[in-house]
Symmetry: D2
Subunit: 328 residues, 4 copies
């Protein structure tokens, strides 16, 4: 396939929003504009594709959005796109506008949809990893992850102030249904006494031992960071079990929740998003299809979208060990 | 009483911690040092007074703490101080050190203790209002309130990003068990669709009407800020009732929690804390007793501690109206 | 004059931009919309009035701008408005659209123009104080001032880290050509060793004495905050003189500059801007003219615009004294 | 050399301070403590080594410093260490305490000193790259770089607000005497119209062309980010030349300066610092000498300190191209 063959592309954001999606979008639109490729934005992800909600985008349509969290194209889950009929409608809309290829900004749900769609109808697709969870294979970091880490860290730093002032134990839940990246890194960065993540088999006994060790070392307050997807139980259960084990502890639970998805993206996320958005358009121009653009060791790489979905970045076991050694 | 009569003072923080307590503490210690008054810090509030946990403080002991959240003297509730025996022990410890007067940094619980103690034993006390809730009479703002407002606002701004991207309705709980100051001001500052506070009789019907109005005006996402002490029900109940009334809404709940107590104090809080800490020592030197130092219209004022406890700053009814007019 | 007489208003921002101008603009537009008053925005201040650069604004035109620094209507100085011909053109444009009254968001230059214009042509005007300098009479704080204080403080806090690590002396210039408010408050909030402001007659001798006192007290690093308009000389001159006096000092100069004008407004500034924008429209409805809306002791007040220009908020002399006592 | 042979180490920070140095220090001290290695801190870098300014450090001495900018051990340049006599004194002090090895946190000046010292006296050394400039070979990022990027970006975002409001052109100088990393990444992240860095031969003609292109594209305000070490001339010269070429432009210069060195470290910097501090001690235990600990592609690597000094990370040429494509 020759470069000249990409004449019109469409871009959309899908799945949970992540800071930097707008920066990625800006990069896609401006790179397309630079290379004289026509570019459409599709609103609300696959739903907009089905409902024909397209907007023409030029260099000026993405003015000043690099600083903004969320996504100006909005995002949504689409049940209809899971049906053949839905996808057919979507495809017809693309054909009607003469769109050659799609840039899909999102996580593995988004990529799975794109893969099926591309296989079914032959439309070319390229993925850009946008999710705070960092659980996509083929890129060192996903867009939004670095910002979410800083948000979680800032919140835990604030909780530390009150924990220390009152000699309290705080259990803090951070996002990550399947992956402990946010928990592990924000916990390490805030000196958490313990970090509970789904990738490791945790036990209440070990947690108790850690508390005992901390007491012996003279720590009078503690923070335990718990990933949303922790398998030992809900954060409330864990807090309750701890209260039973240590009735004297003044224990509090904080669930950070959706603040972790928002906010102006960090510099690293803006740069990453800019490079990947650029890389996606360049990839399409160079004939890439069914791949995801990622950055590894500061280099742009394309990974088959199937691998990006199936494989997963592993938690660095060293980090768990380091966090234990440094916590007390 | 002559100025020269204050020779030794002690300062402590008590009740929920608030950003700026350290700045107030620094001001007390350095003002005392400047006027050659000896100064002790008491750790963990009234508990430390009972347990004889005093530390000598000089100008260098409060170095660099102006930027820090929490309180280096720590804070705690004291059940023992509620007993006559506890207070007697506390008093004996003060007498043993020759302490003439106390500077008490905290909220109304702290002040109530100080008042009883002063009436009982004749020890001179002066209060400095440190609480994020802003529910103390005799000062335009309490120390920590401005910082808490900015923290809540930043968090809600982030939630706004994801609310807008997904066309969602978020209910966000902010602190304020008895007072709606944080809810009202952070809600106004973030363009909240509605603000539910204990000072106003709210109803689900009115809330629903507001949602309907917003829909008509074309708003596709909304944030409702709810004070902790809202009387209509828990935030989860209100969210559930809303889901029943508007089954299509994609509704989420976020409880901001303890992040609101921490963080480096804002400029306004550091300045306020500095002025009040200074004002407390000057007040003692000028013979004040059983009063609270406050700032009103940029002027230092002393209010009888009894009034500070009993009366309350009223929510500005105008603000409620303004927030309604500006929200849609 | 009856309420019903205000049917069409126009709003503009002028002079140096300040964080919260957008929040004020939003409040003006939405309050007007609520009371069925037609509202125009004028771009680039008086220039747009002359060049007929008006845009119709409704509740949705100010969506989401409450969080944004700067001003979406832009701001500019206008030489042409200083001429009779310029003002005549401006007036003709207002008449052609049937505009009854103007809301002018800006500082004393803006208000002076408005006053002259109103006296000359009888057009009704109301001012809203938007300037980071806080040098407007008739309001406790101007819009943008609180945000600028926090920005300056954050920057100085960062400089403190490097000053302490290297035992250095930093001279930091903050904005304030005629007023020392930013210098005094940000200096107090960051524990500056000395604060040089135009309102006080400073001398190199006193500065040197302060350095000597600090040395004796064992301080190994220092920050001196200097207002832009300091009369002792430029910050570079003062730094040079200090180097001559204390050749061993490792001295650096930082000029904070325009970062102080930008950024998302603080909660206090958003609330203030919302109240004043609302108050301006209400004022016009109630027949106010040639006044400025301000907040004093948490209450909306209207001050004759002439007074707002001529009188000035005084620096609190207490603050200077407090900052000296607390610095060492 | 066997693991058991490292019994006593000393750690110090040297050169320009960088956010995260404290986090690295904490990691060194706590890892040493965990492995029962005695640990000393040396104050003010090589000067303290010469002046015998050592402090014994245990796990509790580095409590809560992970959040703090600067370095609690302080940093300084040492002329005396450049002399043989100075180094002899330093070595004698180490011998007197029985110190086996040194962990040196700093940049290439620090490493050069360490290398000479180790070669001369046989003392074992390991480097940890702490500098905001990111110009050290052997690690993807240096400690402090990510935080400095975010600080520069936040400042430029604020300047953007005022640039846009006034249709101005701002030239903003960021740190980087020899390297354009901060300029390039912060410029890309803030949508700078042009980025001038020492690694590329820039010309006024090209800069003017860029301005002309921007005008044609309808941009009414612009930011040009200039690295401190730009070879085209000082930022003031460049601004002046631009004013000559475009007399209508309203041009301002901001030099960000030392704010870029301070501040609480970002999550990425805290994690990086923790891993490298840990890696330094582990490296010494494993017999490493005259190497630097770095992270490459998320893996701990040791690079001969000579290489770390002599080689340099190259600016990614792609980034320059991307920034041009995305700017307009």
């Amino acid at each position: 396939m020759k470069e000249s063959e990409v004449k019109k592309i469409a871009v959309f954001t899908s799945g949970g929003d992540a800071p930097g999606m707008n920066a990625a979008l800006r990069a896609v639109v401006r790179t397309a504009s630079f290379y004289n490729i026509e570019c459409y934005g599709i609103r609300e992800g696959y739903n907009g594709m089905i409902n024909n909600d397209f907007i023409k985008m030029g260099a000026r349509s993405v003015k000043n959005i690099i600083t903004e969290g969320g996504t100006i194209l909005k995002s949504a889950r689409s049940l209809e796109f899971k049906t053949k009929e839905g996808r057919q409608k979507a495809y017809d809309n693309l054909v009607a506008r003469g769109i050659d290829a799609l840039v899909c900004i999102g996580g593995d749900g988004t990529f799975t949809g794109a893969k099926v769609f591309s296989e079914e109808f032959g439309i070319r697709v390229i993925g850009v990893p946008g999710t705070i969870d960092n659980d996509i294979f083929g890129t060192d970091n996903t867009i939004g992850y670095d910002t979410a880490l800083n948000t979680a860290m800032d919140a835990i730093d604030k909780i530390r102030d009150t924990a220390t002032s009152h000699n309290r134990v705080f259990f803090v839940e951070v996002m990550g249904r399947d992956a402990g990246f946010i928990a592990l890194n924000s916990g390490l960065a805030t000196g958490a006494l313990d970090i509970l993540i789904p990738e490791r088999k945790d036990s209440i006994e070990e947690l108790f031992e850690t508390f005992e060790k901390a007491e012996k070392a003279g720590k009078s307050s503690s923070i335990v960071v718990v990933a949303e997807g922790e398998k030992l139980g809900s954060i409330y259960d864990i807090a309750k079990a701890t209260k039973n084990g240590f009735p004297d502890y003044d224990i509090r639970v904080v669930v950070l929740g959706h603040i972790q998805r928002g906010g102006s993206p960090s510099c690293a996320d803006r740069v990453l998003a800019s490079r990947l958005g650029y890389g996606a358009v360049i990839g399409l121009m160079n004939g890439q299809n069914q791949v995801m653009a990622g950055m590894q060791s500061n280099r742009l790489v394309y990974t088959p979208i199937e691998e990006a979905i199936k494989k997963h970045n592993e938690i660095d076991q060293d980090l768990l060990k380091i966090s234990e050694i440094l916590a007390i």
